[in-house]
Amino acid sequence: MRQLAMVIDLNKCIGCQTCTLACKSQWTDRGGREFMYWNHVETEPGKGYPRDWKNAGGGWEGEQLRPGRLPRLHEDYGYPAEFNYEEALFEPTEKPLRPIQEMQWGPNWEEDQGAGEFPNSYFFYLPRLCNHCTKPACLAACPRQAIYKREEDGIVLIDQDRCRGYRYCVAACPYKKIYFNPTTGMSEKCIFCYPRVERGTPPACAYQCVGRARHVSYLDDREGPVHRLVNEWKVALPLLPQHGTQPNVYYVPPLSPPAFDADGRPGDKPRLPENYLEELFGPGVHDALATLEAEIERKGRGEASEVLDILIAYRHGDMFRLDRGGQQGGQGDA
């Protein structure tokens, strides 16, 4: 099986939500999916989206699936607010424009909040989508065998003919990136834009990422950015690898400006605590950050750096290699 995979560079993600909305207008603005964000960006640290997903179980414990919880619509996902435009703007009233039902949560509820104490507070943006795992807990959990992984690209799909909406997959996913569609009565999730990929166009969230943070190529394509960043340079790491699902979305961990000492003097330690980053990205995060810092220093001295040139991505098209023959891909027609 080949695996199409993604690297998201958290130093280039600017939290703008363009990916979120590219995905929304491509797939989830209709048909009972309105509340879903197959791709979203949350601010870390935080409870995230759906709320408290990190404590909602799922994933593997050895070869056993760990129990998981179903997120609630209003409290954990957030009801997709509709607004009283007609009443507020075209009728005699003093009422403000507001959600018809007050929002309790949302995909970006904690935007720019983070943690820490001023002036040493910290945050970064964490874009999340289905990880198209190599060992998907959702797939194993489905009593209908409706979930499968495609041989040609490793994309994990929920067969919309077979699914009966039992939602075992929703609970089993440790990333809580599967959603139950109340209109169709089936579960749905990120499909890695396979209809775009099949036409030679990268997934909407990646191709339309204005921060140029996302690379897409086959893991075994030695010329592709994903292989080079993940396997050669080891600067891209899976999120919460301890869940055992072997994700195929990888993250370049975030750098941060130094914290200030008690006297207000900038120190030499990044303000993002490294143990916190290790919890998210595993022990490889230390070497990954050290590699990035050393390579940036080289660049600063005017020397070449292969890994930074990949991350810089001089041409947008270089970030994507979708052609199964391993040739240049990425400039599709969609």
Binding site: N11, K12, I14, G15, C16, T18, T20, L21, A22, S25, Q26, D29, E34, L65, P67, G68, L70, L73, H74, F83, Y85, E86, L89, F90, P92, E94, P96, L97, E102, M103, G106, P107, N108, A115, F118, Y122, F123, L139, A140, C142, Q145, L157, D159, A171, A172, R196, R199, V210, F260, D263, G264, P266, G300, I312, A313, Y314, R315, H316, G317, A334
Partner: protein, 925 residues
């Protein structure tokens, strides 16, 4: 069909029933399924999502950009099916300019990407509306376009006839800044002699510090230049949020080894992306700037050759009067604008070539070697001895007052950080200081920006070595005949708004005179006096209008002392017509609301924005169905022109002479004639400009910077590339980023200043009175009567108020306005996360929610600006608690390059207000 039926619905009933049960724990253990399922063959169902993709790709494709005040200017593909837009996606086809500079793809952000939702959203204006009841009461009657045109025209003609041409204001706000769509209202207003404000100043986006230094307010580089820089200061600027399409050049610059200092009071997204965050206290930036100068001068980080030739730092200053030494000081009937330096070679004062009054229009010094320091004596015109020193000596003396160890108490910035910033600025081959639009929202912003310009000058950062960047704009010469066929009454923005809205009241209420004198060096009476002097010049203010045709401007949202401004403005208006694509907080109060097309619905072109070199073209998808009865601005202006001509003829005033403007006819000067009877013919240029497509074609044919591209090229790619003529102060080279001032630095052409150089000494009486003849520090003006500093940076989720009410974007926020508070500041007031609060002071109040953000400094209230007032309780927006104070320096007029023009006007000061916050009951009415 009513409004609701027309607009695309997203019915979502019943969803709640499917969720909301108790938490459910589910698990099965069936790992063996993995292998079995992977091998399956039956995948016909996958056609489902393939069909959906085809659905979004539609049956027609056009191109568009979003012509609002974001300056991003990004080319998009727009897909439509059955005449309805289905989706948009960035073109992502801009060519790379050089293999070592990252390309500009895919330009386009979270706002652009949801415009297809916005254009069919419930706030969209669909039909011409006429007010039924009182203004602002929401009682609308649908009328026909013909009725609207006829009634408006009659009132306009009556106004022109009875109250004069200046009683009509035709103002196009920053909701439309593209050359195509903006042309209609500009042209109509110019033909009528209507007054028009300067938008950059009305919204407070002037960089007066840059104007002082260069005589030009918009200067800098194309933003790909970030990638080449080794030191970058982002000062009062949050480009990770506000320059989304170009932000990658910053993150990529960091990977390229750049040191990036983000100077901002809160730990914002741009601070997080920087190598260093400089946590300056709100409004104290000028002290930090002076400390930077202090270190640069102390350590002699001075590019002497650059400073001698390119700046006024060697110019001589009289020690007796504190004024520059001028020709008239030395010769009877001498000139005012010839200045001197001390020539070390000849050991005497010599007039400097290139100054405004000098016959040699070059910066080339020849044999002159201007002294940078020292005290000298010259003989005055009456034989007296005049002691003189240099501007640099004055700068040194001023900067000496601000060692970083001492300013630290004010700014909160550690001296080590200041030292390192100065060293990195001086040591970088290419360094850039970006000044954001937030800087001049403080009165001290002028000084901070001027000092930053001086820091660049001392270290020789100009031309392709970088330097100051406010915002580069391109030169689209050739547009004049289209937008200004006759002279318009072009007025100051900030000044007009301040007077029209009677903001003096809130200034006097919020700022005790004693406090103003202490912090700013002037008081409210001084402001009043200077306002009267400026008014008396008659060049930048034309009185409160009694007829207002307002295009895409949200003046009741953006102006200070919000509700008083609105009431004052409305009280003077006999007719208020609002033309917009959506119902905004200003349109709510109009007499007539005319529905305009929005970004995808008519041909358009935009190319003046200097962040990149691409000129984007809008070509609607074939067969796009009109949204309601909307018309383009050009069509609306044409309808108005036709109706005004008819009404004028009926009234018997076919022509109005306008003696304020003279037209040369042979040897004779005659008043400009406002030919109302011919308005339609003049508007359409004798019928050659019937519609938006014709306008775009005219622009592409007449603007030299667009050559050789044709409308067909634009329609094929969605954009064309500007040529080298697009640069104002440098040529725009095809294969490298653009930098300002190459013509000055390399060709020695004088700058557009009185000194002909980068200017750091201004001896206008106001500057002398305030003690700021050279850049100096100045603190925040906010009064101590309320404990919290209130500032309102640009938001990620809107371009000012555009898209602020967008459903998709509000779902990515919290659905309603909120302030940001430091958790400690909130706790002291018993306020918790997401609590409702009342924000208030002696100007007014507003209600909203709270978001606790540890990156916000204690003692500050931060709020994304430009929420629509109609999103707040009682529809009172955040400017209801902001006072309308003015900067005395920005009231200077009629002095050299400080004379009202697009390069010299002032700002609506927005960040100098104090507030208090308390928990509220959370009601909405």
């Amino acid at each position: 069909m009513d409004r609701r039926e027309f607009l695309k619905g997203t019915g979502y009933c019943g969803l709640a029933l499917m969720f909301g049960g108790p938490l459910t724990a589910l698990a099965v253990n069936n790992p063996a399924q993995a292998a079995a399922a992977a091998a399956r063959g039956d995948r016909a169902w996958e056609a489902l999502y393939r069909e959906e993709l085809l659905g979004t790709l539609g049956d027609a494709q056009g191109f568009a950009f979003h012509c609002s005040n974001c300056q991003g200017n990004c080319a998009w593909k727009v897909y439509a099916r059955d005449g309805v837009v289905t989706r948009e996606e960035q073109v992502a086809g801009y060519p790379q300019i050089h293999p070592r500079i990252p390309d500009a793809n895919p330009r386009g952000c979270n706002k652009g990407i949801i415009h297809s939702k916005e254009m069919y959203q419930g706030d969209r204006l669909l039909y011409p509306l006429k007010r039924g009841g009182e203004r602002g009461k929401g009682q609308w009657q649908r009328i026909t376009w013909e009725q609207a045109f006829e009634e408006i025209a009659e009132k306009v003609v009556e106004t022109l006839d009875e109250k004069g041409l200046e009683a009509l204001m035709v103002y196009t706000g920053t909701g439309i800044l593209s050359q195509g769509r903006r042309a209609g209202p500009l042209r109509l207003g110019a033909l009528l002699g209507a007054q028009r404000m300067y938008p950059a100043s009305a919204v407070g986006d002037m960089f007066t510090g840059a104007s002082l230094a260069y005589g030009v307010t918009n200067i800098g580089h194309s933003l790909d230049a970030w990638f080449e820089a080794k030191t970058i200061f982002l000062w009062a600027m949050n480009p990770i949020v506000t320059r989304i399409p170009d932000a990658h050049y910053l993150t990529e610059a960091r990977y390229n080894g750049a040191r990036i200092y983000t100077i901002t009071p809160d730990y914002n997204p741009s601070a997080r992306s920087a190598t260093d965050w400089v946590p300056v206290r709100p409004g104290t930036d000028a002290y930090l700037a002076m400390s930077l100068l202090h270190v640069l001068l102390r350590d002699n980080h001075i590019d002497e050759a650059f400073v001698r030739e390119q700046t006024d730092l060697p110019f001589l200053v009289r020690t007796d009067t504190g004024e520059l030494l001028r020709h008239r000081d030395l010769r009877p009937r001498g000139r005012d604008n010839v200045f001197y330096a001390w020539d070390e070679a000849a050991d005497r004062a010599v007039p400097m070539p290139g100054t405004a009054g000098h016959h040699r229009e070059t910066l080339r010094l020849g044999d002159i070697r201007p002294a940078l320091g020292g005290t000298f004596e010259v003989q005055g015109r009456d034989g007296e001895t005049i002691e003189v020193t240099t501007v640099l000596e004055r700068v040194r003396a001023e900067a000496a007052r601000y060692p970083p160890e001492e300013t630290r108490e004010i700014t909160g910035v550690h001296p080590e950080l200041v030292e390192r910033m100065a060293a990195d600025l001086a040591g970088a081959e290419r360094a850039i200081i970006n000044i954001g639009f937030a800087m001049h929202k403080y009165v001290s912003g002028t000084m901070t920006c001027w000092a930053a310009a001086l820091a660049c000058a001392l270290t020789g950062h100009a031309g392709d070595r970088g330097g100051l960047d406010t915002e580069n704009n391109w030169s689209l010469g050739g547009l004049g005949d289209l937008s200004n066929p006759k002279p318009a009454r072009f007025g100051s923005g900030f000044f007009t708004e301040w007077l029209n809205g009677d903001m003096e009241k809130s200034m006097r209420r919020h700022y005790p005179d004693e406090h103003l004198r202490k912090t700013a060096g002037y008081d409210s009476d001084d402001v009043r006096r200077h306002v009267e002097e400026k008014k008396a010049l008659g060049t930048s203010y034309f009185g409160r209008p009694s007829a207002l045709l307002l295009f895409a401007d949200n003046m009741f949202r953006r102006n200070k002392d919000e509700s008083h401004y609105r009431e004052t403005m409305l009280s003077g208006l006999d007719i208020f017509v609002n033309i917009n694509h959506r119902m905004d907080s200003t349109a709510l109060w109009a007499d007539y609301v005319l529905p305009a097309k929005s970004h995808y619905e008519s041909w358009d072109i935009r190319g003046e924005l200097g962040y990149h070199r691409y000129c984007n073209i809008t070509v609607p998808p074939k067969g796009l169905a009109p949204v309601g009865e909307t018309r383009s601005e050009w069509e609306i202006c044409l309808g108005l022109a036709r109706a005004i001509a008819r009404a004028a003829k009926q009234r018997g005033i076919e022509q109005i002479a306008d003696p304020d403007f003279l037209e040369q006819e042979g040897d004779m000067a005659a008043p400009v004639i406002r030919d109302l009877a011919r308005l339609e013919e003049d508007f359409t240029l004798g019928g050659t400009l019937p519609d938006d497509e014709a306008v775009v074609r005219w622009i592409m044919e007449n603007v030299p910077a667009i050559a050789p591209w044709t409308p067909e090229d634009g329609a094929k790619h969605g954009f064309v590339i500007l040529n080298e003529q697009a640069g104002y102060t440098s040529p725009l080279a095809a294969n490298r980023p653009y930098y300002s001032f190459e013509r000055n630095v390399y060709l020695r052409e004088p700058y557009s200043t009185e000194s002909g150089r980068q200017q750091f000494f201004v001896d206008h009486p106001t500057f002398r009175k305030l003690g700021c003849t050279v850049p100096t520090a100045m603190g925040p003006l906010r009064p101590p009567s309320f404990p919290l500093a209130f500032y309102t940076p640009h938001t990620r989720h809107g371009i000012h108020s555009q898209w602020r009410g967008n459903q998709e974007l509000l779902r990515l926020q919290r659905g309603e306005p909120y302030i940001w508070l430091n958790p400690n500041t909130a706790a002291e007031r018993g306020i918790g996360e997401d609590d409702p609060v009342r924000v208030f002071n002696d100007v007014g109040e507003f209600h909203c929610k709270v978001k606790l953000v540890p990156g916000v400094p204690p003692g500050a209230v931060v709020m994304d600006h430009a929420w629509e007032p109609y999103q707040f309780r009682k529809r009172l927006g955040l400017n209801n608690a902001v006072a309308g104070v003015l900067s005395l320096v920005e009231l200077v007029d009629d002095w050299g390059h400080l004379t009202f023009s697009p390069n010299w006007d002032g700002n609506m000061i927005a960040f100098e207000t104090s507030v208090e916050v308390e928990r509220s009951d959370g009601g909405v009415q």
